[in-house]
């Protein structure tokens, strides 16, 4: 009977065997958490960060590139610093900062190296390299820092910075990891996927102390890092910097476009700042200072600021009038019966002269004819129908909608239609007499500098435009975004442009912009004076040149600088001359413009706190080692150029 117990015993052995086999099968085959990638600590996945793509200007000059720098890494458990004060002095940091950096690294891992200080330049590295040997637990790693050509194009190019927690969580495919850099705005953001390249992955073996033990499987599974694509822009960096210098001490925008292609030659948002300040490890301090600056240097005015176009809008009114047949090139109007006042000027028996002298009553009449160009007898209904027709025509010029430029946050502006006024006044409760300010670009219409430059390009092209764009080629093959090759027709025939252009040439030669004409170049231009609630009028000018073979179309907006002829027109014409001939004949004008300070006219909202001052004090309190880029006191940043 006891013999039968052997079956119990063998059964028990077999049971244990099966339990172990099942457990092993679970551990080795079913449970992914023990697979090589997810938990193996002897095989480490090393990410190779590729070089970010560089950006070139239209003449092949580098405007954005990468500078080799060194990151200082710390392994908290190895740290042995006897003389913390000396250590901090060498690195140019405060004791407080040192403590918080060590704590932050420690909370990530005590045994793995993590970033202590980023972006030490080659020179800094050389100067502290031998000293650092005295301090265990610190090591250097090669890295690269985004570098910009100078204090220019800040808002257009944007900047890169460490990815934020929010961005990390929001990304659709898990590509970025903590402490990765990502393009935050401007070109850096829009072309992030092209610029970032492809990360490489290496599997390396390490022992329990983290010492490198060679490539795993001889590098079979490794992927090479692929450098980001270079971008080719239409920016002319020399013109850009010249434009920056003209906009010194002014608030406003310049947009210059090559009409035949839609490439942007120059794009100024004044006041600007040095984008390099946001590329350093002092990002957050510098960003805060810029953010709090009352002149809002981070606001990308060319695509985000909306203004009333003022008299520049008369050009479009004339073009629509001619195309609709409500006027002919030889239609003339007088100041009689017009609710809008005008300045003293010679008679305006033609469209061209109307443009040249920017006659308000002239365009009041043109707009009135456009609106009432139908058979409806009820003036309310006729106005409503006429406005919608007009709205459609103007929309063709890209006004009241996004043009589709390769920059983030482009604003639509405002192009009122029937619905818009119905909401304000009620249906059939408004007519032409309520909206006639539109005839001269005042009232409810709002437009961005970019769109106004695009209008100049349309007139230069006699009827069409290409979507303005900063980047026209991506990568080795210089691939073009197909959207930028689409020709947008405005529906206005080329012959209807000639009288308007004639008037624009007249305006520069002997009209509202005569004081800034350039010898030897025929410029077609139109001044505008934009009324606004905050102080002096904004000075506006749009132009293109040469008239017969336009190479540049430009729009200049200077805030609170008065009439269009006083500030915007000279700036535009200087840039045109510089771009076409590479020299300036009227040195006196150039000097006067550079020195002009319209910034003092800008009415600022009272600052809530004296933040800028405070920041300066704090920074002065820190003994600065020559490690970081010298940061000028913020207040003078934009006054320098």
């Amino acid at each position: 009977m006891l013999e039968n117990r052997r079956f119990v015993i063998i059964g028990f052995f077999a049971l244990i065997g099966f339990i172990y086999l099942f457990r092993l099968f679970y551990l080795q085959v079913l449970d992914e958490s023990y697979s090589i990638e997810s938990s193996s600590n002897s095989i480490k996945r090393v990410i190779e960060v590729p070089f970010r793509g560089q950006i070139y200007d239209r003449n092949g000059k580098l405007i954005v590139y990468n500078t080799p720098v060194y990151d200082l890494l710390v392994t908290p458990y190895k740290v042995k610093v006897d003389d913390t004060l000396r250590f901090c002095r060498v690195l140019g940091i405060e004791k407080r900062e040192f403590d918080s950096l060590i704590t932050a690294a420690g909370s990530y891992s005590r045994v793995k190296p993590s970033i202590f200080l980023r972006q030490l330049s080659k020179e800094d590295f050389a100067s502290i390299q031998d000293i650092m040997v005295d301090y265990s637990g610190f090591e250097f790693a090669k890295s690269s820092m985004r570098t910009y050509k100078g204090a220019t194009l800040a808002n257009t190019l944007g900047y890169v910075s460490e990815i934020s927690k929010k961005q990390l969580e929001k990304q659709e495919e898990p590509y970025y990891r903590q402490s990765d850099y990502i393009g935050q705005t401007g070109i850096e953001k829009i072309y992030e996927n092209e610029l970032r390249g492809k990360r490489g992955t290496k599997f390396v073996m390490q022992n329990v102390s983290g010492v490198y033990k060679g490539a795993w499987k001889g590098g079979e599974l490794d992927t090479m890092a692929v450098a980001g694509a270079n971008l080719y822009s239409g920016i002319d960096i020399d013109i850009q910097q010249y434009a920056d210098s003209l906009m010194m001490n002014k608030v406003g925008s310049i947009v210059a476009i090559e009409p035949k292609t839609g490439q942007i030659i120059s794009m100024v948002s004044a006041p600007t700042y040095d984008p390099n300040f946001l590329a350093t490890r002092h990002f957050s301090k510098n960003y805060t200072a810029l953010y709090r600056n009352p002149y809002k240097p981070l606001f990308n005015r060319p695509v985000m600021a909306s203004y009333r176009p003022g008299s520049t809008f008369k050009l479009i009114q004339a073009l629509i009038g001619l195309q609709e047949g409500v006027i002919t090139p030889h239609s003339g109007f007088t100041h009689a019966n017009c609710p809008i006042g005008c300045h003293n000027h010679p008679g305006t028996p033609t469209v061209a002269l109307g443009v040249t002298h920017s006659c308000n009553p002239y365009f009041y009449n043109v707009f009135r004819r456009i609106i009432y160009n139908n058979n409806i007898s009820n003036t309310f209904k006729a106005s409503a129908a006429g406005l919608d027709v007009w709205h459609d025509k103007i929309s063709k010029f890209g006004i009241g909608q996004q043009l589709g430029i390769d920059l983030p946050s482009e604003r639509k502006g405002n192009l009122p239609d029937k619905k818009y006024y119905d909401k304000i006044y009620g249906e059939n409760r408004w007519k032409f007499s309520n909206i006639y300010s539109l005839s001269i670009g005042e009232g409810e219409i709002l437009i961005t500098p970019l769109k106004m430059a695009n209008v100049a390009a349309i007139i230069a092209n006699r009827g069409y435009y290409y979507t303005p764009h900063v980047i026209h080629g991506v990568g080795e093959s210089k691939t073009v975004n197909p959207d930028f090759l689409i020709k947008h027709e405005t529906g206005v025939e080329p012959r209807n442009f000639e009288p308007v252009i004639e008037g624009m040439v007249g305006a520069v030669e002997g009209g509202t912009a005569r004081r800034s004409r350039v010898e030897g170049i025929t410029i077609a231009g139109k001044t505008g004076t934009s009324q606004n609630k905050r102080g002096m009028d904004h000075s506006i000018f749009i132009a293109f040149a040469p008239v017969d073979d336009p190479k540049i179309a430009i729009a200049v907006f200077v805030e609170n600088a008065g009439a269009g002829g006083s500030a915007a027109a000279p700036i535009a014409n200087l840039i045109i001359e510089k771009y076409l001939t590479r020299k300036i004949t009227n040195k006196a004008l150039e000097e006067r413009i550079m020195k002009a300070d319209f910034m003092k006219n800008v009415i600022l909202p009272p600052p809530s706190k004296p933040v800028v001052k405070d920041t300066i004090k704090r920074r002065q309190g820190i003994p600065m080692a020559p490690l970081e880029k010298p940061i000028p006191s913020e207040i003078n940043w934009f006054r320098k150029f």
């Binding site: 244990i16 172990y20 086999l21 092993l24 193996s40 060679g214």
Partner: protein, 427 residues
């Protein structure tokens, strides 16, 4: 023994083949465990554990030949003398032993060190077999017949405990198998297993919940019990058992918190939740599981293991040799090893059952039980099913003493088994 017959006559070849397979696989894996990709040391290099193990294997073969040559009656006749010698060595080692890894349990002979505790299994097995070979002894009827057995086990246990080799002492638990086979009532091992299960559950859950569950089950048992059984004392027996179990549940809490030392408590808690202390006590278990788990189905390949090299897994060539098998040969490799062991011990049970003498049968069961216990605990700890107890995996782990003792243990039984046709049953 008849003249002219080879000494290998009638030896069970299946066991020998499994034994050789284990030795071979073990040796190759010891080489893999100590292999350093930077120096490419040879498997025959005597400066590393693989080369040394080869030397041990060689000497083991000499031992095996000796065992096969010696008359089979020798072991039965000299059982108690062998036991006495081992006890003597255990006493000697307490006073004159060399200190290796925190336990004074080694005797050094020049470059080699021996651990007498490893031979205690052999001595106790022989002594118990000898004692039980008396047909008058009955484990199913007379309680006093247990006392000598307890004495045989207790003496070396105390000595081994004094030399700080708790792992080797625990192996004596494996004698429960032979006692059960020879007539120990089934409820005793059942109580043991239930208690162990209760112990683990008590560690995991609140004692009050467990008490509730036990009362519920006891109630269910009483309700389902035939009325006759209930009247004949079944009611009170069930209530008594339930009360004992509840007091165990509460006792465990007290025991864990007030009796056990901190590292012992840690080892038990880590078994339940290795992540509770990943850098400290849990390290071994986690690293071992990662190493085995990262092997996947077919493994990373011979000498391609990375967790077991580069020092992530401690004691790779000795106690944690199974990790190397798991990492480099995957589930295929581990399944082969597990199967070899189950096959070996099952075969030993079958061989034991066909013995005519009670001495031989008891001894065979002892051998099977000892191998089973080592397998159970060693493999169990590498896959996180058992607490980390430092005992070797027979034939696989590096180490001369263990290889010698396991081989001697096994081949004495094979020798006795080979003589089976010529022995008369006395039992």
């Amino acid at each position: 023994m008849e003249e002219g017959k080879p000494i290998t006559k009638n030896v069970d070849w299946m066991v020998v083949l499994i034994y050789i397979a284990c030795l071979g696989i073990g040796w190759v894996n010891i080489y893999a465990a100590v292999y350093n990709p930077e120096t490419h040391s040879s498997i025959f290099d005597l400066s590393n554990n693989a080369g040394k193990q080869l030397m041990w294997i060689g000497t083991t073969f000499i031992l095996i030949i000796c065992i096969l040559v010696i008359d089979y009656k020798f072991y039965e006749t000299f059982s108690f003398i062998i036991y006495a010698i081992v006890i003597f060595l255990l006493v000697v080692v307490l006073f004159a032993g060399s200190n290796i890894n925190g336990s004074r349990s080694w005797i050094k002979f020049g470059p080699m060190s021996l651990q007498p505790a490893q031979f205690a299994n052999l001595a106790v097995s022989l002594a118990i077999s000898k004692y039980l070979s008396d047909p008058a002894i009955s484990l199913s009827r007379k309680l006093k017949d247990y006392y000598p057995i307890l004495g045989i086990i207790a003496l070396p246990s105390v000595l081994i405990l004094l030399s700080n080799e708790t792992g080797s002492m625990l192996v004596f638990a494996s004698f429960a198998i032979i006692l059960y086979r020879e007539g120990m009532p089934g409820f005793i091992p059942a109580i043991g297993i239930v208690s162990a299960a209760l112990l683990i559950i008590s560690l995991l859950y609140n004692s009050w919940y467990i008490a509730g569950a036990i009362i519920f089950i006891a109630g269910l048992v009483i309700w389902l019990m035939p009325v006759m059984t209930r009247r004949q004392g079944g009611l009170w027996a069930t209530i008594l058992v339930a009360l004992v179990m509840i007091s165990i549940a509460f006792g465990v809490d007290f025991f864990m918190n007030n009796v056990l030392q901190k590292h012992q408590r840690g080892r038990i808690m880590v078994l339940l939740d290795p992540d509770s202390d990943p850098r400290g006590i849990g390290w071994n278990v986690i690293q071992s599981k990662i190493a085995i788990g990262s092997g996947g189905f077919t493994g990373k390949g011979f000498l391609q293991g990375t967790q077991t090299k580069f020092d992530f897994v401690p004691e790779q060539s000795t106690d944690f040799i199974f990790c190397t098998v798991g990492e480099e040969h995957g589930f295929v490799g581990t399944a082969v090893v597990v199967s070899l062991f189950i096959l070996l011990i099952s075969r030993l049970v079958i061989l034991a059952e066909r013995q005519r003498s009670r001495f031989a049968r008891v001894y065979g069961y002892c051998v099977a039980g000892i191998f089973f216990f080592h397998f159970l605990v060693n493999v169990g700890m590498t896959i996180g099913l058992m607490p980390v107890i430092g005992i070797p995996l027979p034939f696989f782990s590096y180490g001369g003493s263990s290889l010698w003792s396991f081989s001697v243990l096994l081949f004495i039984f094979l020798k006795i088994d080979a003589q089976r046709p010529f022995t008369l049953s006395r039992g």
